[in-house]
Amino acid sequence: MAFFSRHQKIGPPKPTANPYPSRFQKWRSSLGITFFSILVMGAALRFYKPFYHGIQQGLFETTATTQGVLNSPFQALHHFFNDIVLSLSLRQDYALLQAENEVLKEQLQVLKPLQHENEVLKKSLKVTAFERHGHLTARVLSNPYDGMHHFFLIAAGKKEGLEKDQAVIVPTGVVGRLETVGTYVARVLLLNDARSRIPVMTENSAQKAILAGDGSHMPTLVYVGDVRKIRRGEKVVTSGLGGIFPAGLSVGVVDDITNGKISVRLYVAFHTLEWVHLLKPYTAEFLEEFTTGLENE
């Protein structure tokens, strides 16, 4: 039988993990050293500004796009259920809208002569007619929130010609401004974020102020001209100062005045937004003219 069995040559033993690692191997696998080297690299990234900004921008684009893609199935599901709820109340909404439409038609009849009168008066007073703002519409990708910052991501970026600090609005009022702009995505800083500051004025008392977000759902008015003149329920609109927001956009109403602290209830419910409009920025000539006008004033 031994004649038929093939002779098998014993090969070298298979390599296994070294039970006695050298000092270098120990050092290489040391957690502390790895930790320290990552920290050193992180510090270098942090303090060499151009490199840091490049990394920050790249990371923002990657994370925002990935987050949008990961969230899309959940968002689609959310929209699906929203549509079902909406379709259930369709008949009721239709009746309401019809009634509202009738009222608006009547109001329009009254407004048409007024509009004409306004144009004639503007011409006779030689009021400068600035270029009207064009706008771009973008879809809201997602609204990440961790209790500190209020913002959301939109599916538009430099590719669509967006720039930092552009005004973001919806038909009901101002939403915020663009904080970071990537190639395909951008981050919108909402009005109630602690870092948000926009120049506003009250409609009736004409008091200029800054609307400062504080993280709550009711931002406050700071640097107010005369607090005593402002009344509760007064409308707050953008003042047009600063050159980001055009004048007269609705922001909210004065909700409460306590010990000089004026809280504003915003018109826009941020959590329900699906689409937003981005106003095109002012041209350089306009801004120059505007600044000169302000200086003269």
Binding site: G32, T34, L70, G147
Partner: protein, 156 residues
């Protein structure tokens, strides 16, 4: 086969990033679940598979979180790396057969993490609420992670 076993090492990173990206849009009664929610997979992998939870993956996950939320890059990475560093010493003390003990360990870990995090970015009450929610969600997420940890290698 070697490729698959290498791919398995990416599971901690993928679960942390997935929990982070999906969890950051979730809210319960207006209270966010992040940042405490993504600490569950971080804690789990540091504790049960430290050989899978590579330091570089934790570093990258921290960078992703900071850039998504618009913070200065590096804070979350630093805290996650610190967690991994301390994890190797705390691991023998916490890892037991008794789940409540592991759960309690997570409570302490996430509380400590959120305290340092809150001090660094001027956090508020929302952080405490998010911590409470993550404590409640820990058993479900840990169960899901344990399935990933035990079942996936067996399929391979």
């Amino acid at each position: 086969m070697k490729i698959i076993s290498v791919c398995l090492r990416f599971i901690p990173f993928l679960t942390i990033v997935f929990t982070m990206f999906v969890g950051c849009t979730l809210r319960i009664a207006g209270t966010p679940l992040c940042p405490a929610l993504f600490l569950i997979p971080s804690y789990y992998w540091i504790l049960f598979r430290p050989d899978w939870s590579l330091l570089w993956s934790l570093f990258a996950a921290g960078l992703f979180y900071d850039s998504l939320m618009g913070y200065t890059l590096g804070l979350s990475s630093f805290l996650l790396l610190l967690s991994a560093f301390l994890g190797q010493y705390i691991r023998p003390l916490v890892i037991t057969y008794y789940f409540p003990f592991v759960w309690g360990g997570f409570g302490l870990y996430s509380f400590g993490y959120l305290i340092v995090y809150g001090f660094s970015i001027e956090g508020n009450l929302m952080l405490v609420l998010s911590w409470l929610y993550s404590l409640m969600l820990y058993p479900i997420v840990a169960w899901w992670l344990s399935h990933l940890q035990n079942r996936l290698p067996s399929y391979v």
